[in-house]
Symmetry: C2
Subunit: 340 residues, 2 copies
């Protein structure tokens, strides 16, 4: 939260050309496959014997993020990590990323560098190579557009789930949305105090706030699949909420599902934050997005073996016939049908 | 210019999910290599034995385009064509494209479809496959972000120019900027009349206006290189103006250049428009961008043979030693040094 402690050099003082040079110098080469990166008309990547996975996504200030409570460094990490998340959701390893930034007058050279410090942290963590992108002047709101290329020997689609499969989820759910609610509440409180010089403080809820600000893509799951020669039947990342993404997976696969609310992984920290907010935790779990966890289906018989190798997932239900619909048994034992 | 003749369905009436379905249905599969396109976490492309070229670029309403004089259909074509232009400038063939759109409340379902009609025209023309992208709500201005992947057996960089090479340019220069000036003038005139219902009319200057609104990437040059087994030493697309892009190429290659103003290709239509604007045509030629023509260098001895196969280029000068600088002999015979 130290964006406002650094000096402020307006970008026009150095120009986009120099800004690109300063940012480029922050990045070393990661990818074996990169032949030529930033600085030509386009990046050139070496020939690939694996299949390619290609994804792009964009974010708008005021719609997807708020700079009052989002340090730029975290924003840089988050947009890169979410791009990685989409690539790993195809059972692919991220290789190359480009980022286009629409910058407003409020953004200085130092702030841009902070953003790319976050991008670099993600690149280091996920062995990812920044291969290009551009800066353009934007009107009133920052826009960020991210493209990521990955490679996979065996891509996994959301459409492959089979009756009898176990439905699995990595990590824990609901934290990112809980974190967002805390951030919004603290922002309101801070604004009501007329806060100008200090930014809001979220120490007490650091777990859920961190999940919102710096969600970590589950590349570890993909690596473990590969090491253990396990290929899930279907996979999707949970960015729109378990409810939405489970329905997407079931619809694409032409199957139904039965999940158990009691089995959905939620941490005590998330429950405590929901209590503090006087909100129903179930809402966050089912409808809260941005957790960047993975939802996947495995043949029943593979679950036990894989669970010995990879600890951070649980089974929350099973794939059933399409006619049985997509339903959840609540903690109280009643059955509810899920819909968009 | 028929944007305002169509009906206006607010996007919230059908939702982003349905909008994506409507747009997806407009596109057939082009690329041989596409395994799975729109509709999963990411697109999957088949393994590639050629090298990959990867480029992303973004555009902001009010900065890069103005909807008063830019029909959305043309905008869709243009952003796709300019992405293709960057890919062909690496001597690569475009294969896959993703487009992220930040949409404002002013934009209807029908307007979005018009935009994609333009994208589709470019996809058809350049044998390009739309593989994904997203829609996000934007605040006050539309933002467009485009990523394009191409493949090349032999990528050409801006850094390969050698002393003695002929400096070549495709098509003609200055028209796109001339077109922009006409559009801006007509917009001003139209606004001064309080124009509400009618859009400005540019019939008289259709050539330069077309070059501004629907610039065509020079994929034909790349195809001809390939058919004739010609590989240029260096190449760059002219998007920032001949002056800027020639300096970029010379700096990257560590060479100087001598070009001849009289040899630079300019059409009578462009001269006429410049006269009408009472502007110096040289300014448009040297500093006007967005022509989407290609600047490349060829060994002197290859020029004659290639000129028999490909008609639409001219030699405008030659590559010289770095110490001689980057200079232009004007039509009057004086020598001027080019700088950024």
């Amino acid at each position: 939260m130290n964006d406002n402690k650094v000096s402020f050099t307006p970008i026009q003082d150095i120009g986009f050309r120099n800004l690109i040079e300063r940012i480029s110098s922050m990045f070393e080469k990661h990818g074996q496959g990169l032949i030529f990166g930033i600085g030509d008309d386009a990046a050139v990547l070496d020939k690939e014997t694996d299949k390619l996975v290609f994804k792009s996504q964009s974010y708008q200030e005021g719609v997807h993020f708020d700079l009052v409570y989002t340090p730029l460094q975290h924003l840089g990490y988050k947009v890169a990590s979410l791009a990685v998340s989409d690539v790993v959701a195809m059972n692919a390893r991220p290789k190359f990323i480009t980022i286009n930034l629409g910058l407003t007058n409020k953004i200085s050279v130092e702030m841009t560098e902070l953003f790319y410090k976050g991008v670099k942290a993600a690149c280091d963590e996920f062995s990812l190579q920044l291969t290009g992108g551009d800066f353009v002047p934007a009107g009133s709101a920052i826009s960020v557009s991210v493209s990521c290329i990955g490679t996979s020997e065996q891509p996994v689609y959301r459409s492959g789930a089979k009756e009898g499969d176990a439905i699995c989820v990595t990590g824990d759910l609901g934290a990112a949305t809980c974190g967002l609610m805390i951030l919004l509440r603290e922002k309101k409180h801070w604004e009501s105090l007329g806060g100008e010089t200090m930014k809001p403080d979220f120490e007490e809820f650091s777990y859920v706030v961190e999940k919102q600000l710096v969600p970590k893509a589950r590349l570890d799951l993909i690596n473990s699949f590969s090491q253990n020669l396990v290929t899930p039947h279907a996979m999707i990342d949970i960015t729109k909420g378990l409810n939405h993404n489970l329905l997407d997976l079931c619809n694409a696969s032409g199957v139904g599902a039965r999940i158990y609310e009691a089995a959905i992984p939620v941490l005590p920290e998330t429950r405590a934050a929901a209590d503090e907010l006087e909100e129903d935790i179930d809402k966050f779990i089912l409808f809260g997005g941005e957790d960047a966890q993975l939802l996947f289906t495995l043949p029943e018989k593979e679950v036990e073996r894989f669970a010995k190798a990879f600890k951070d997932f649980v089974v929350i239900g099973k794939v059933v016939n399409k006619d049985e619909g997509v339903k959840m048994q609540t903690a109280e034992g009643s059955i509810m049908t899920l819909h968009y």
